[in-house]
Amino acid sequence: MDFLSLFVLVPILMLVGFLPCKNIRQIRTVAVIGSSILLGLSVALVCMFIGERAAGNTAEMLFTFDRVWFPTLNIHYSVGVDGVSVVMLLLSSIIVFTGVFASWNQQPLTKEFFMWLILLATGVFGFFISVDLFTMLLFYEVALIPMYLLIGVWGTGKKEYSAMKLTLMLMGGSALMMVGIFGIYFNSAGSTGTFTFNLQEIAQNGIPIEAQRIFFPLTFIGFGVLGAMFPFHTWSPDGHASAPTAVSMLHAGVLMKLGGYGCYRVAICLMPQAAHEQSWFFLILTGISVVYGAFGACVQKDLKYINAYSSVSHCGLVLFAILMLNETAMTGAFMQMLSHGLMTALFFALIGMIYGRTHTRDIREMGGLMRIMPFLSVSYVIAGLASLGLPGFSGFVSEMMIFVGSFQHTDMFHRVFTVVACSSIVITAVYILRVVGKILFGGVQNEHHKTLTDATWFEKIAVVTLIVCITGIGFFPSFVSDIIKGSLTIMTSW
């Protein structure tokens, strides 16, 4: 057994461990132990990765492991990581860890909830470690399906509608993607004569430009749906609003990153020429996402909707930066994925905690919470400031990296669009401060809220972990950006 497969194995063992659990306490124990192991594994992976790179190992993928599991079609179980996936694994394990604490008192059907949640996590981890397109797609679907049940069963509001919408739209995306992936497969032979699903081999063999032109948009849109690209983003507000806390966290924090990661790994790395040709079209779409999401967030009344639209805006920025096809902007894109993942998870965790107390998410019905629950409120302000890109938090470095990187593009069109995307930072400030001003400051709106209590210890663990990560990246961004950049230089040298 190799090291990376542990990322899939541990969640599966957790699933098995849940089976004999009798009460919520045992379930929590299993969940906490499992997610801590995962967190430890990913931290260890980061250290090992840095160590390997420092030792001069310049192989594209490290810690590789390969085994054929369906020889007829040349499908392998093939894993390996580069800097980008290491960072994504770290993000996923942090979110899973905090998600467990955020759903500490999840009722009813606690066992089933955690099992689906961990199954989702299995898919996510598997996706990030895969180097084989088919295995990747397999894990992708594993990550999507539990979403339906998690929202449909444990959600709030119009949960069945939202769950159905989310699943159908994402499935629609994966249908497009599947066409794209098979297109890639049947054009992957190059001069070798054998079709392959292995990403590195495909990249080496090269796909004919005619095929790229057809399959690039399919793959990009397919993953773009999950990355909330305009106009395929409408599952996001409803889905996030209905999902239970931990699911929102995992979904916005990690699952949406699958989209961006896939766009990069599959669409851009395998079909760079087509990406270069068609980037203008997708830039318009993602540029719209950025500004449009921000404006959309300005007038929402439900906390989760505000955040969902803000995610559309921030994730739009990720895809926007990826399309700039230069090293700085792409590094920025992955920094933004990491930073948005942490920040939005923090937001959803806090919203869940506030909702658990006030039983409303309508910003008009809240006010003056700062005095009632100072810890949660201050954390909310911090999350807000991180989200609007304040220096000292991760949002700033990633956004600046994207803007500076994008502005280095030699084409005037790209630069003008960068300026358009920049303007989102003002609108972000508008909606963040609007919410903060309405719900945290001012007088107490509702007399019943006066008796509410502040965060409990397990909520504090979740919140503090996330805040520490956000500020850590904000203060020492080079640590992360170096990991990412080291891998991009290999892959973006066309």
Binding site: P231, P391, F396, V419, S478
Partner: protein, 635 residues
């Protein structure tokens, strides 16, 4: 000089310390810790200034730029990387002194003013954060570090304006301040992007060195008929205009007076609002060599703002708002002075004058605000109408306030006279229209300051107060006296020997022809104010009635707030956001729902073929089998 790091780092550590554990301490202890930290910073910055100006920095007649510390923080490309570091040159050292002094005064003053307030520890933590950000801003060796601290300054200002967060007006004011300045910051950022794209560097040293300026001239690219350097510098200036409350971004500053008064003194009078001036001064060589056309625009914006704010200040009745508009007007003076400046020894008089005015203004404006704070502390109101005859009750405040008023009006030998005189001389040599505009403003300044002074301390001498006003405690009066003393002496500093455009010492002397003119107009202003407000009489009402239209317009701040509210509420919210949200729900999402509706409709239509009756299926199966078999057999 690497100990300058401590000047910056110490307030940050204080912020972290007080922010994390301050809540568990006694308020006074937290305040003392914060103040101690700042005292150390202040002392160190005095030492730094002393050694920089008199030994380390000065080689021959020229001041050196010293970079005691610089490391790469985040690398974008090979050429572009954000460095964090310290750069000492005359203006940054001067700013270190200004910031630490005023900040220290405010720290001490707040012991009295904020006593018993809820969140005292938080207040000191935020003050430390602000001091840190402002210090980091002025010592920045590259434009990106400046931008970082620029944002931090913005957020600490936000949290201090909204310090009384249960008060809706304070929350609204803080939000407004943040968003307006953030809007301007966007242009700043774009300006940085444009500039760095063409120049390939963030560093001030590369940008503002003669070689860097030469490159600025060599860039010939244009965008929409204007050279890209001009675009970049104009955008950067807009950023500065946002922080420095230039027209039309001034609207946030008067509202920012919702914050505690010491905060207004520190942030919205002495330090943060001059960041824009500092920015233009920092980039001055690029302006003068690369984009002189922008400098002309800056001049006119400055002059207009000065006049505009001075007129409004004459009509306001909230004493802090009068001071706020006066601040806008005085900062506009500095900006104008930069605009009319040239490069070189005496050519660069405007630049020197601007920095000189920044320096003197910081002290006397802080003094005015702190004095106003003492008044508010005594009468528990901001409105002039509830004041009058306070000179009997508040002797120390009265005297110090008077000194500050005389100084800002430009009466010798107080500091304002010297710096304002230099600005007028610079303007006179360059641009007569601007000169007369500023000259008129000087008169207005004297008038509204003495209107304020008389209405607080004289006016209705027999005013009856519910609680007898009493002089503020020593923690508040000591800073007043200290600042008043500074106001009296700093004017005599030969500023041109320290600060000049090319960092070379030159000598100036007072142009008595212009100085006498300016004293004349100041005295006239004071005289009119004395006639109108010294005693409670009707002359002021008569004057107001005679210029009713102008008065009403000025009283409503020329309706700028209304315009901004129209823009934000009507255009941004109702005009863009609402339609976007509607469009999203009904068109984009509607399209998705439409697909599902169509699918549903079709499946409903064809579902009757699936009756669920086994015999129907069997019948269809049979018939189908018969048809297929007969086809196979007979064809």
């Amino acid at each position: 000089m690497s100990y300058t790091l401590i000047i910056v780092a110490l307030p940050f550590l204080m912020f972290l310390f007080l922010g994390l554990v301050g809540g568990k301490m006694k308020p006074v202890v937290a305040g003392l810790i914060g103040t101690t930290g700042l005292i150390i910073s202040t002392v160190l910055s005095y030492i730094a200034a002393g050694s920089y100006f008199f030994s380390v920095g000065k080689i021959g007649e020229t001041y050196q730029t010293i970079v005691p510390m610089n490391f790469e923080w985040l690398r974008f490309t090979d050429k572009l990387h954000i460095d964090l570091g310290i750069m000492l040159d005359p203006i940054s050292v001067m700013m270190l002194v200004v910031i630490t002094t005023v900040s220290l005064m405010v720290h001490i003053y707040s012991f009295g003013y904020m006593k018993g307030e809820r969140g005292f520890q938080r207040y000191y933590a935020l003050l430390s954060l602000f001091s840190f950000s402002m210090l980091g801003l002025v010592i920045a060796p590259n434009i990106f570090q400046m931008y970082i601290f620029w944002e931090l300054v913005g957020v600490s200002s936000y949290s201090l304006i909204g310090f009384y967060y249960t008060k809706p007006s304070a929350v609204a004011a803080s939000k407004k301040a943040f968003i307006v300045t953030r809007f301007a910051d966007l242009f700043f950022l774009i300006g940085i992007l444009v500039l760095s794209f063409y120049s390939g560097t963030f560093s001030f040293r590369d940008l503002t060195s003669p070689a860097g300026c030469a490159f600025a001239q060599s860039i010939t690219d244009t965008f929409m008929g204007w050279s890209v350097v001009s675009w970049a510098m104009m955008l950067i200036f807009i950023g500065g205009a946002g922080k420095s409350a230039m027209l039309p971004f001034h609207i946030w500053l008067p509202d920012a007076m919702e914050g505690p008064t010491p905060v207004s003194a520190l942030i919205h009078a002495a330090t943060m609002v001059v960041a824009g001036v500092f920015l233009v001064a920092r980039m001055f060589p690029v302006y003068i060599f690369g984009a002189p056309d922008v400098l002309t625009i800056i001049t006119y914006i400055g002059a207009t703002t000065a006049l505009f704010a001075a007129v409004i200040a004459c009509t306001q009745t909230d004493i802090k708002r009068v001071l706020a508009f006066s601040t806008i007007s005085q900062i506009a003076y500095m900006i104008t002075a930069l605009g009319v400046s040239g490069y070189g020894a005496h050519e660069g008089l405007g630049y020197m004058a601007s920095m000189f005015h920044l320096f003197t203004h910081a002290f006397f404006k802080a003094l005015l605000f702190l004095g106003a704070g003492a008044v508010i502390h005594a009468v528990h109101s901001n409105e002039m109408d509830s004041m009058g005859g306070l000179r009997k009750y508040l002797p120390i405040t009265h005297i110090t306030f008077l000194i500050a008023c005389l100084s800002i009006s430009g009466i010798p030998p107080f500091s304002g006279f010297f710096s304002k005189d230099e600005i007028l001389v610079a303007a006179f040599e360059k641009n007569q229209i601007v000169f007369w505009c500023l000259y008129f403003c000087a008169g207005l300044t004297a008038f509204y300051m003495f209107r304020l002074y008389y209405r607080i301390f004289w006016g209705d001498n027999n005013k009856v107060y519910q609680h007898t006003p009493h002089e503020a405690p020593a923690s508040m009066t000591i800073p007043l006296i200290f600042l008043a003393a500074l106001t009296c002496v700093v004017g005599f500093i030969p500023f041109s020997e320290f600060i000049s455009t090319d960092k070379t010492v030159f000598h100036t002397h007072i142009e008595w022809s212009i100085a006498s003119l300016s004293i004349l107009v100041a005295v006239t202003g004071i005289a009119i104010a004395t006639w109108m407000y010294r005693k409670k009489n009707t002359s002021s009402d008569k004057v107001t009635a005679s210029i009713k239209g102008l008065y009403t317009a000025a009283y409503h701040k020329f309706y700028f707030d209304e315009i901004w509210i129209f823009v934000t509420k009507k255009i941004i919210f109702n005009g863009i956001s609402q339609p976007v949200a509607w469009f999203d729900r009904h068109v984009v999402d509607g399209f998705m729902n439409l697909q599902s509706t169509i699918t549903n409709y079709l499946s409903r239509k064809i579902k009757f073929t699936q009756s669920g009756e086994i015999q129907d299926y069997a019948w269809a199966f049979m018939m189908g089998a018969v048809v297929i078999i007969s086809l196979l057999v007979f064809i």
